[in-house]
């Protein structure tokens, strides 16, 4: 009998420490599946962030290094210069990428570093226990804005795709979501295009994945998926901001 579904061998045989309903597991698997399908697993090198996914090397079967907080794009650029044919990518959350690592992400895009960045935006700090992120929505509660993020103190949430796409050499910028089967299928295609951009040496590829954090949002997983649709997507619209002809 022909198998219709197989668990990817690119995920290591290990139960993850992620909470029920967390999107990290889905994101990990999509990236691993894409690398296997592209035949690039063996040349992939991942830079993990400071955040819940810091020890993603427990789960992803690729060479991996943990980065100091926020510096993953610079670390990845250093690796890519040594291994120009490698499939080098950073996997970063919103605190890591948009807050402390804001500078590195912009300058990697500015230089057109030939790497991929997968940006897990769940609008909150996960590992440290639910503090406000630069992407926390107005009115959304977090432990450091217990009454909800207020405009007066903290301004408006950062839309990273919109910022990154202003850099000419960030040639591929797309925002996807991981909350429904249809969105997940789109996300996988986006991840594939990002690696294709790198393979063809076209420039910097940036994929934002809207994700759920039921634990820190204080919601049941199913509710969290709905909340991505209802609250996140209206502020963080899905779609391609930039895409080179070569990978369309």
């Amino acid at each position: 009998m022909k198998p219709v579904f197989e668990y990817t061998n690119a995920m290591r045989d290990k139960i993850t420490h992620y909470c029920p309903g967390c999107s990290h597991g889905v994101a990990h698997r999509l990236i691993m599946e894409v690398l296997v399908e592209r035949g690039e697993l063996g040349k992939a090198i991942c830079v993990s962030p400071v955040g819940c996914s810091i020890t993603a090397h427990q789960y992803m079967n690729v060479d991996m290094i943990e980065s100091p907080h926020g510096r993953a794009p610079a670390v990845a650029a250093g690796i890519k210069r040594v291994h120009p044919k490698g499939a080098v990518f950073t996997y970063q959350g919103d605190g890591d990428l948009a807050s402390i690592g804001g500078n590195e992400i912009l300058h990697s895009a500015e230089r057109g570093e030939n790497i991929c960045t997968f940006f897990i935006n769940n609008a909150i700090y996960g590992m440290t226990g639910g503090q406000m992120a630069p992407t926390t929505l107005i009115g959304m509660k977090a432990t450091t804005c217990p009454a909800g993020r207020d405009l007066d103190n903290y301004g408006m949430p950062m839309r990273m795709c919109e910022i990154v796409q202003t850099m000419d050499l960030a040639v591929y910028v797309e925002r996807v979501a991981l909350n429904t089967p249809a969105h997940i299928r789109q996300a996988k295609k986006a991840i594939n295009r990002a690696f294709e951009v790198q393979k063809q040496g076209l420039g910097y590829a940036f994929v934002e994945l809207l994700s759920a954090c039921p634990t820190n949002w204080g919601m049941q997983p199913a509710k969290a998926m709905e909340w991505v649709d209802k609250s996140m997507i209206p502020y963080y619209p899905l779609g391609q901001f930039r895409c080179p002809e070569e990978v369309k």
Binding site: N61, E66, A74, G78, I79, H83, G86, H107
Partner: protein, 361 residues
């Protein structure tokens, strides 16, 4: 014999790194070391290497962290406050056992400080700066030729110990010109050979082995203790045996012994000559490694004649603390220093030495 060239210190540091097989340099401008990145920008790509002006020192050291993890010989340089910014990355290189070379052309501090020569980063580079139990291996050359030779060697030491090596000079050595012989260019480790020479490096597993992981977080803290006890500290114990280097001069019959490193040692030597003309015999211990500190050098002091050991430094007695530890109470100590970017002059050292000796009578 190889050709002697007149070179500016900062440029000589850069060429020494290229000669040692370094093909990756990442740096951010800061006075007084700007000729290092400028030279690299001109010459490194021509030598088939990679130069990036990073967006900050935080990024510089992160590029290094990545390139070292990928198996390359790599270097960054900065000055004092820039090195302070790099500390998180340097500590990460240490616990991840990633070899790299860092040049610190010191200036006055703390804070933005002054851009004139100083030695006030002594404690930062030898005892931390970064969090946790960690050391850098630190060389302190006092001439441009010595700096070139130490940088040339530093890449091998870094690879051997899988630890960052810091070359600590100051604005004087960085900015001056002296004749220098550039050593022979070493062959460069090619990308295809990295996984053989450095099996721990990140090259992609090619579906042939388990994935390599380089981690600096330890969710199981018992493993971190094991890593420090069994991987990091045995290396440091070996370093303390193998690496200390120093130069000593005129110790026999010396009334007092100067301890000075780097540019200050040169000025101290001139002061010694002036004092000798007045019949005051002074010896010198010049540490060439600041960590590990050359404790054994202090066993050579002439017990019969030496009354006092004087730290001559451009900081507030930072090295004096190590001298006291090395002396274990055998001799009284004194400090002759300037700070903030001010240099000692030979005459000032002479006068202050006489005051120290006068006070002992």
């Amino acid at each position: 014999m190889a050709e002697k060239k007149l070179m500016k210190g900062n440029e000589a540091f850069a060429v020494a790194a290229i000669a040692a097989g370094c093909r990756y340099y990442f740096g951010y401008p800061i006075t007084p070391q700007n000729e290092v990145p400028e030279y690299m920008a001109r010459e490194l790509r021509a030598a088939g290497g990679h130069f990036i002006q990073a967006e900050s020192e935080l990024a510089s050291i992160s590029f290094i962290y990545g390139a070292a993890a990928a198996g390359a010989r790599c270097m960054t340089s900065s000055s004092s406050i820039g090195i302070a910014l790099m500390q998180e990355g340097i500590g990460s290189c240490i616990i991840c056992e990633l070899p790299c070379v860092i040049i610190n052309v010191m200036r006055g501090g703390p804070g933005i400080g002054s851009i004139q020569p100083a030695q006030a980063d002594y404690t930062m580079v030898t005892k931390g700066g970064m969090n946790g139990d960690a050391h850098n291996i630190v060389y302190a050359p006092s001439t441009i030729q010595e700096a070139v030779d130490m940088i040339y060697k530093a890449f091998d030491v870094a690879d051997d110990y899988r630890n960052p090596v810091i070359i600590c000079v100051d604005g004087m050595i960085g900015q001056m010109m002296e004749p220098v012989v550039v050593p022979e260019f070493k062959p460069v480790l090619e990308e295809k050979d990295i996984e053989k020479v450095k099996p721990w490096a990140l090259c992609g597993h090619k579906n042939k082995r388990d994935r390599n992981k380089i981690n600096s977080v330890w969710l199981d803290h018992t493993e971190l203790e094991v890593a420090i006890n069994e991987r990091i500290w045995p290396k440091y114990e070996r370093a303390m045996k193998e690496l200390p280097e120093w130069e000593s001069k005129n110790l026999e019959g010396a009334e007092a012994v100067f301890v000075a490193y780097g540019s200050t040692a040169r000025i101290a030597v001139e002061a010694m000559e002036l004092l000798e003309e007045e019949g005051i015999k002074i010896g010198l211990i010049r540490p060439k490694t600041l960590w590990p500190f050359p404790d054994a050098a202090f066993d050579e002091i002439d017990k019969e004649t030496t009354k006092v050991v004087i730290s001559v430094e451009l900081s507030m007695g930072q090295m004096l603390q190590d001298i006291k530890l090395a002396l274990e109470g055998r001799y009284p100590t004194a400090l002759i220093n300037r700070v903030g970017g001010m240099l000692l002059t030979p005459n000032e050292i002479v006068e202050r030495t006489k005051a120290v000796l006068g006070g002992m009578k």
